[in-house]
């Protein structure tokens, strides 16, 4: 019996070869990344402090003289600050070019857009792959961070840019958790809060899927308790499996059926083996491998942990409404009918808390076939809501 190997599908080999070619061809891309180094260590929810924090970010549009036209965009779990600029590793366009830009719903002609890489990540901000003060990678010595710690990093960036109050803070998925955390913990820093496909707490199901991903990474012998940075191999296979599982949660059954059904991959019959017979298998393997080429496994552990620890009500005496008592912001929440990762009920819980706290809040559940990822994809109704809410 043959073992399922990740390089077993020829599509995968071609895809990887292609992605290497692409990254070489795009090596000349101008990366607009700026990096802020914090003078003071960042005090974290765990009680630990993180010294020498770097925050990678990019900005678009122009900050006006009053410094009141800034919008902070918060990225999701595996995202980064390349919201509209090409990704330096993959050469792909920024992750939200369809939403952000001149004349787009988040209009860079009017607004100064800031997007910062979260701490704990591996795309420029300080994370477990960064060097600790002793000159060695932090690896698993990196302190466990929370969503609120990520927001503390954002606020430090706003301070350095001398922006007291944002026109809006915007985010989807984990980005939405950051927007809610900023609204609750730094209520004077944003006048409008836009939360897409997100939640105020991670459910048991959410935590379960994340744990599956973490265990896949840790079960990979190349992980070496996190100390893999000096070696040629890294826990790519574990990270790829984690991504495959997670990727399923980002899509809807309807979407998967429409896109793949039970169709076979480049073959007319099943092989009675463990090759990627089905298109969905080939697709997920490709997603897994391309992800492990661009993301650090330890960062995945730390960021998923931060999401699992997120419970905004718990931070505020067990009542979610209390989290928003001090807020003066307008809120808008959007959910998608096919999102089973952070379903409509999760958004409604936040809306109800905001209602109970007497805050101005809008909420709409939009219909889109793409599951959780709908907030990133072509949903014209979302564009209208975003543009309308931001003004």
């Amino acid at each position: 019996m043959r073992h399922a190997e990740f390089d077993s599908g020829c599509l995968i080999r071609e895809a990887v070869a292609l992605s290497i070619k692409v990254s070489m061809a795009t090596a000349h891309i101008i990366d607009p990344t700026q990096v802020l180094t914090l003078d003071e260590p960042l005090t974290l929810d765990s009680g630990q402090t993180l010294p020498g924090v770097e925050i990678a970010y990019e900005t678009h549009g122009r900050l006006n003289a009053a410094k009141d036209n800034a919008i902070l965009i918060c990225h999701a779990l595996t995202g980064d600050h390349h919201v509209v600029s090409d990704h330096p590793l993959t050469g792909k366009p920024g992750w939200w070019v369809r939403m952000v830009g001149p004349g787009k719903p988040i209009n860079t002609d009017r607004y100064f857009i800031i997007c910062a890489n979260v701490i704990g990540s591996c795309m420029g901000s300080t994370g477990p792959a960064s060097l600790a003060p002793d000159g060695e990678p932090w690896a698993m010595r990196f302190p466990v961070i929370t969503i609120r710690d990520m927001v503390r990093g954002h606020v430090a960036l706003l301070d350095s840019l001398e922006i007291d109050t944002l026109h809006a803070v915007v985010g989807g998925s984990m980005g939405g958790m950051q927007t809610l955390s900023l609204a609750a913990n730094f209520p004077e820093r944003a006048r409008a809060v836009l939360v897409l496909a997100s939640t105020a707490r991670h459910s048991a199901q959410n935590i379960g899927f994340h744990e599956l991903g973490r265990q896949a990474i840790m079960a990979d012998n190349s992980w070496r308790e996190g100390d893999y940075y000096g070696f040629e191999d890294s826990p790519e296979k574990g990270l790829a499996v984690a991504r495959m599982a997670a990727h399923i949660t980002y899509l809807s059954e309807e979407g998967l059926t429409k896109k793949f059904g039970r169709r076979l991959q480049d073959r007319s019959e099943k092989t009675f083996g463990f090759d990627a017979d089905f298109q969905i298998e080939s697709y997920l393997r490709y997603q897994g491998i391309s992800f492990s080429n661009r993301f650090d496994a330890n960062s995945y552990l730390y960021i998923t942990r931060a999401m699992d620890y997120f419970d905004l009500a718990e931070e505020h005496g067990g009542r979610l409404a209390n989290a928003f008592r001090r807020s003066k912001a307008r809120f808008c929440l959007v959910s998608f009918d096919t999102d089973w990762l952070y379903p409509t009920s999760a958004s409604r819980t936040v809306v109800q808390a905001l209602n109970a706290a007497g805050k101005p809040v809008s909420f709409v559940e939009l219909s889109a076939p793409y599951g959780h990822d709908s907030f990133l994809l072509d949903v014209p109704a979302l564009d209208r809501v975003v543009a309308g809410f931001l003004g």
């Binding site: 101005p360 809040v361 219909s367 109704a381 809501v385």
Partner: protein
């Protein structure tokens, strides 16, 4: 406020300036926008249809997608000066409970509805023997959202049974107001301002 639908115009005229309002079933936000812009009200809305919620948000209004029968429970007691239900009562599953909710959330409530005892409706049923299709009730019986037709008399009886006080009432035939005395026969639609002693 001439652009408003006649019953909405009556409500808009009679809402105190600067008050807080919740419009349940606010549609595309026409009334809320008028109350915000012309009466400087603190406005919020609830609407079932997502496209309408989007239109409201695009107007800068705070509107939640929700169902009048289910989702009002999340508003705190007496959290607004006025709860408004315009042309929606007859579409709810339990109009009596919705009415209770309005008066729990609002100090006062505006309720407007098409009068099923309007003479044209009566004659249509009497002479044709079929469910009436009129300007106010334009949809065939099997597609109409109006599942609880109500007359002004019925509504008054419900208010009496529930101990609800009528603070004001207005009756319209087309765009013009008509006399209270014969309203149940002459009025095409009715607007009530209600309150309930604590």
């Amino acid at each position: 406020m001439t652009a408003l639908r006649p019953d909405l115009a009556v409500i808009a005229e009679n809402v105190a300036a600067g008050s807080s309002v919740l419009d349940v079933g606010c549609g595309d936000g026409t009334l809320l926008a008028a109350l915000r812009d012309e009466k400087h009200c603190d406005t919020r809305g609830m609407e079932l249809v997502p496209a309408n919620v989007g239109a409201c948000v695009a107007r800068g209004l705070s509107v939640i997608q929700g169902d009048a029968d289910r989702d009002t429970v999340f508003y705190p007691d007496k959290s607004v000066d006025y709860a408004i239900l315009s042309q929606t009562l007859q579409t709810t599953m339990r109009p009596d409970l919705v009415l209770d909710e309005l008066l729990r959330i609002g100090e006062k409530a505006f309720v407007s509805f098409p009068n099923f005892a309007f003479w044209r409706v009566r004659f249509s049923l009497l002479l044709r023997g079929r469910m009436p299709i009129t300007r106010m009730l334009p949809v065939v019986w099997y597609q109409t959202p109006n599942i609880h037709h109500v007359t002004i008399q019925d509504f008054r009886r419900l208010l009496k049974d529930r101990g609800i006080t009528i603070e004001g009432n207005w009756f319209l035939s087309g765009d013009t107001s008509c006399r209270t005395a014969a309203a149940n026969f002459l009025a095409e639609h009715a607007i009530f301002l209600l309150s309930r002693a604590a």
